[in-house]
Point group: C4
Chain length 250, copies 4
Amino acid sequence: MVCTVEIYEKPQLNNPILIEGLPGIGFVANIAALHLISELKAKRFGEIVSASFQDFASTTETGGFSSPVNELYYWKRQDGDRDLIIWHGNSQALTTFGQYELCGKVLDIVQELGCRSIISIGGFKKEEVQPVPAIYSAATDEESLQEALGLGTRIMVGHIFGIAGLLIGLGGLKGFRGFALLVDTLGMYPDANATRYALTSLGKYLNLNIDMSKLESVAEKTKRTLESFGLIRNIVEEKKKEEEQMRWFI
Amino acid sequence: MVCTVEIYEKPQLNNPILIEGLPGIGFVANIAALHLISELKAKRFGEIVSASFQDFASTTETGGFSSPVNELYYWKRQDGDRDLIIWHGNSQALTTFGQYELCGKVLDIVQELGCRSIISIGGFKKEEVQPVPAIYSAATDEESLQEALGLGTRIMVGHIFGIAGLLIGLGGLKGFRGFALLVDTLGMYPDANATRYALTSLGKYLNLNIDMSKLESVAEKTKRTLESFGLIRNIVEEKKKEEEQMRWFI
Amino acid sequence: MVCTVEIYEKPQLNNPILIEGLPGIGFVANIAALHLISELKAKRFGEIVSASFQDFASTTETGGFSSPVNELYYWKRQDGDRDLIIWHGNSQALTTFGQYELCGKVLDIVQELGCRSIISIGGFKKEEVQPVPAIYSAATDEESLQEALGLGTRIMVGHIFGIAGLLIGLGGLKGFRGFALLVDTLGMYPDANATRYALTSLGKYLNLNIDMSKLESVAEKTKRTLESFGLIRNIVEEKKKEEEQMRWFI
Amino acid sequence: MVCTVEIYEKPQLNNPILIEGLPGIGFVANIAALHLISELKAKRFGEIVSASFQDFASTTETGGFSSPVNELYYWKRQDGDRDLIIWHGNSQALTTFGQYELCGKVLDIVQELGCRSIISIGGFKKEEVQPVPAIYSAATDEESLQEALGLGTRIMVGHIFGIAGLLIGLGGLKGFRGFALLVDTLGMYPDANATRYALTSLGKYLNLNIDMSKLESVAEKTKRTLESFGLIRNIVEEKKKEEEQMRWFI
């Protein structure tokens, strides 16, 4: 199967921009995406399960399941500006191979919907962070870079790990254009403040006035979801290598 | 190959329910499935070998081979109630990827037979267990949850690892409905007592009077099979590696 | 690619038997297969490279390359008895997944040539071995078992790892019939004596008088080949788990 | 996806020779390929991203991304001699499986362009290297070997790891003809001197006068690229894990 994709609807979108928001350093992208979905009342149109996600289910206090999944939402703007596709989820893939598969699959899906633009969001892990964190960018091309720098970002120098980096790299190869926004964060907890600055830059780019009043509660919700998946503890404890092992549990 | 599937027969089934019974904590599901197959004289209609199973054969005292394999059985009821599909085996897959593949393959097979309902069984590992163990449930949807709670189960809170969790998670995404039954167990040996309570709840749900008189001998048989596969030792030695290493960075 | 297969010829064969001879404990199967190929002047008709083999080439003293490869040979008998297919190679696959892929591929190939019978050969590692080593067998079915026991073998009890076990297990699932012959060996070096007894039993089964006079030199040749692949040392040092790692070498 | 391939152009080539130049020991092939591309003004016609590359992007000081990628270039000669295809990149695959996939994919691509000849370049790691390093060769066939020896190379004895070995091994199986050129190097840094000798031999074979005056600066550029990918450190820290763990029994 590799990736199981369920697309509920093929929306007609106006030159849409894909915004990536999977869990990562500081969970900046994850909070930002969930906040956008919530504020814009974006509509879910697809779900993706990868064979490279963890194979467990996390049960909720009301008896439901929460399984590792990625979701695609769209938002059709009424003001004639470009529509959005938002890629949210509770998981990245466990393996490099799975990350490529997942990212390639999402790019295929959004390309079919006419999307040629991508923005990935991330945290840039620092030992110390100022109250107004710096934002960095890197881009698939010179024009996209100038757009990102025009938002007040600085040029990122270093490595961008995971889906945030892969999306731009693999997307660029496939002819997508766009940039990554990376905000200074301590990276140890879901960072609402870093997310606020990421969303401010993003809103400027999208000509979108994003109400931030509920951001803290969205960050709290993200924290609870990720804790139930053991991700927050794992990120903090992170040092281990991926390896396959015998795991016989129900 | 990934999964090699041999289907011997495509039975005509009446709105069948899939019951998962692979080896896991306390081997509750494994004993329960074997007991059902034995008591109901369920008929084997398919075998599955995954490239993610172990690559060895275990020979028996009579010179035969026992290889890692999963088997599908069906039972057609005479009383007009819903038929059963029972998923039994001596192995789960060794890797997360293999687990998804295996689970996806079984869901595809049973869906072709008109199955839209799933029940997974499991042990819930506890340090201490009462003579009458508690049973927990979690479900793909509210209606299924109410059915499970109606059997006297409590809401499960926590993680459900392996096929038992994956079946509900992946099945739910694919439109199946159902629940997991998880029984308190020490988890260190094939637990006939826990299985008895799982089967009692299951029987109540299925309107099925299950004779338990041979349950101990089925548990003993399951123990011998799993020992020959080295699984019992593995479970005991298992150093709580259930938390897969995360490598998530933005 | 997974497996790259090159079939040079599709021979017309008379109810052929597949004999497996990849490197393993004591290299019994590997020597036996090479000896048969050499004595019978069997003809190579196919080559298989798996993406799960090692990714290196071993150069020879004459400037040629020897890469990890499996080869298929056939031998058409003149006496009207059943023809043979011999599966020889310098490598098994590095991963469980690759072993299944490789074994499944070979079974597909020989099935197309009308083969429904399989024999795998192996060493059975012992701390101490008598000059006349014991031979054990295990079989896909009762009739095959009786044939193997009729050759003077005893019933094998235990695990058969690697391709030798997988061939019988996976083959049995796919409807092949046959048995494994496992000879006592210290397993530390290419064991010509164990191979002699394996070939004697095999010859009896095949109604074939195998000249053993060049067996020592074939064992020596096998030893050189495997040393150039680092296999002999690796087998001896064997304790490591498979894991993937960064390997940047030319 | 496994490998994502983007072919921009299908050039008409005259009996082309594929020259492999991925990063490896001493980065000899990598520098050589980049130098050829630069000197010959070879034209890029394709890009390949493998799901077995690392999943990150390395940002540049100008805000661009550099992702793990392989590139194919061609050079059409004006003198009627054979054209070249140059395989350059900043990455080999992380896994054995990925290496086979990548190599198989490139061979498929170049075969479609009429290519049947391959040359791989590499460093041969030594504790000590003379100012005029020795060059070794190994070949797919006797005729190719004689051609390589005619360039003043010696017969290589030992293992050729990674793509350089795989290309010859897998290529040979697929009917390609050619040889590997391996130059003595300490292997700890991008070795311009070793590359010079590799290019001299290669130029002799190709009847090509290669201007070496800018070789040092190409080596420096290669060094910067690889440092940004963390490869140089990895090579140095590499604990001789070139021997993959064998798990071979019976």
